[in-house]
Symmetry: C2
Subunit: 342 residues, 2 copies
DNA sequence: CTGTTAGCGCATTCAC
DNA sequence: GTGAATGCGCTAACAG
């Protein structure tokens, strides 16, 4: 591997000049620059990653921390992050927290590796970790992709507003003629989806519909939740209600909706004619179910792009100012809901 | 950040001794070692990632190259890779090839960053890239997770044997009493699933069943294939055969099987009583269809773990010898096939 | 505009 | 067993 010295020798200049050329310093005579560039090309020189790092302290690496990676949602998020990272000369280290090692241990490893910044996601907002992360963010920029943290804390964040998105969803169902709307609520321990439930209630209110507690199916807390199955149980719950049942259901997440649709169908209930169902998240599986699932989607790839953009900007400028970017869920209308009435 | 020098000063030893302690050199007097360790703890010293790298040339980072990351298959694969990587002190850089930049460009970036090894996946086997990767593997270990490359080339690889897996599948169908087994074959351009078809034919032979070309539905090449729809067309093809039709079908991939099941059902054919259907891949959607799909799955997380294990072993030992680890598909028996006959 | 010099933090001889 | 010295490849301050 050629070093800066080899290039200098070949171009008959000093190391400093080579360094200047490589780093785009203006104060280099065009002829000299060209000579150096030729030498670089000839020797296929590329600056040593380590030597550069030891001087600049930068790795041009960012980390994406996610919980439970076997989930297409995070795959798409990664794609978004990578989109902008690559274009800006960064690479991304994916970190599945809570799997083999704890979040804190992972973050410590990352800090030792001198990553330049971090995008943080979580399922469960733990105060200890938030405190730790805020402390970390004194050292390197951190962007939070989490509605709860983004709402509560003074941190840079990117998220979709579950509250308003749900209100829109309710409004849509109302427009399709539904007026007895039920809800499949996530486990109590998952706070991330709580704002959706609040939005649901607010939506009913705004539409002049009444909220009935018995129209809410609450998923029990489980060790390892199978959301599909949980959704199926919800389906049974509502199917058992016979004629007093809702004419539409909203679910905290798509998988719950999908399990529910499945079970309602096998109980002989026609979707969407008898019951409309709307999910939340727009996982790609939703297009493939029968009927394809109407849902509220987060523009997750775009969110990943923006998060990376924010992060890299902060890395480059050293700006400490916290910024937030809040998205709205997009209604993805497929066939588990009826057409809008005239 | 404390440096090795600070530790040396506090422990009243030289930098060399600290270095020895940190790197587990035996030739250190126990008392000295303890003093150093205390100093390290007190100063929260951790060796500089860069300085260490500049001397050792190692980053303790591996890369996982995948095509199209928004796919749970690769998410699970990542989890497997990460499982062992983290335990061995490595971190993993995820690289979505063919998205923003080409495979070759990505690999070049990775080489500049001095990653210690690489796990390579692809959809499409391009000779140019294979050649390039074999050249790369002279410099750093590369493990291929691809059946075609693994079979054809002298490289380290981890993959599931589609050929034998299919033979097992045929055998299973035979045991459930099926003897006229048809096949839904993938587009001609997708080589990755070709070994499955070959295995299918071999399986028939081994079971003493006859292979009839008219029992093979061949998907036409399309610009953007909708596999569900393609499977539905296959369903029509077989339904049209009336009483001469197969009593079982195997499909190159789950989506084809699912589309087919769907269409057969709507043509009034009872699954699995009249026709059994078996998929391949075990995508999670398979549990959700009606009836849930019997299929052959790849133990993808375990494959990821093994691939990382092989890679890290090669990094550590410097062993150039190529090793292969071939898995067999796991029969996931659900309800599109009949029970085994006594 | 360009060259000289001095470290960055560490591992690794080579002495002792 | 331990310490002093050297250099990995680079950037940045300084001098010209």
């Amino acid at each position: 591997m050629a070093t800066i010295f080899d290039v200098a020798k070949l171009a008959h200049v000093s190391k400093s000049t080579v360094s200047r050329v490589v780093n785009g310093d203006v104060r280099v005579k065009p002829e000299t620059r060209q000579a150096v560039e030729e030498a670089i090309k000839e020797l296929q020189y590329s600056p040593s990653y380590f030597a550069k790092g030891i001087r600049t302290g930068q790795t041009n690496t960012i980390a994406l921390l996610v919980p439970e990676y076997s989930n297409m949602f995070y795959g798409e998020m990664f794609n978004g992050v990578e989109d902008t990272a690559i274009n800006e000369g960064y690479m991304v280290m994916v970190c599945n927290t809570g799997n083999v090692i704890s979040e804190k241990d992972y973050i410590q490893k990352l800090m030792k590796r001198k990553i330049d910044g971090m995008i943080y996601n979580t399922y469960e907002v733990k105060p200890g970790i938030i405190r730790y992360l805020k402390q970390i963010s004194e050292e390197i920029p951190v962007v939070f992709m989490d509605e709860i943290i983004g709402t509560r804390e003074n941190v840079s964040s990117v998220y979709t507003d579950g509250y308003f998105s749900m209100i829109n969803g309710v409004r849509y169902l109302k427009n399709t003629g539904c007026c007895k709307i039920g809800y499949i609520r996530n486990e109590d321990s998952i706070q991330a989806t709580e704002s959706r439930f609040q939005g649901f209630k607010k939506g009913l209110e705004e539409c002049g519909l009444t909220f009935s507690p018995e129209f809410v199916y609450q998923c029990p807390v489980e060790k390892e939740t199978n959301y599909i199955k949980a959704g199926m149980r919800a389906g049974d719950y509502f199917a058992d209600m016979k004629e007093n049942r809702p004419d539409a259901l909203m679910a905290a997440i798509d998988l719950l909706a999908m399990g529910c649709v499945n079970q309602l169908k096998s109980r002989g209930i026609v979707i969407p004619d008898e019951i409309s169902v709307m999910g939340y998240d727009n996982i790609s599986l939703g297009e493939l179910t029968q009927p394809p699932l109407t849902t509220i989607g987060q523009p997750i790839r775009k969110m990943g792009q923006i998060a990376a953009r924010m992060l890299i900007d902060q890395i480059r400028t050293g700006e400490q100012e916290k910024t937030k970017k809040i998205f709205e869920g997009e209604l993805v209308i497929r066939q588990t809901t009826r057409p809008v009435m005239k």
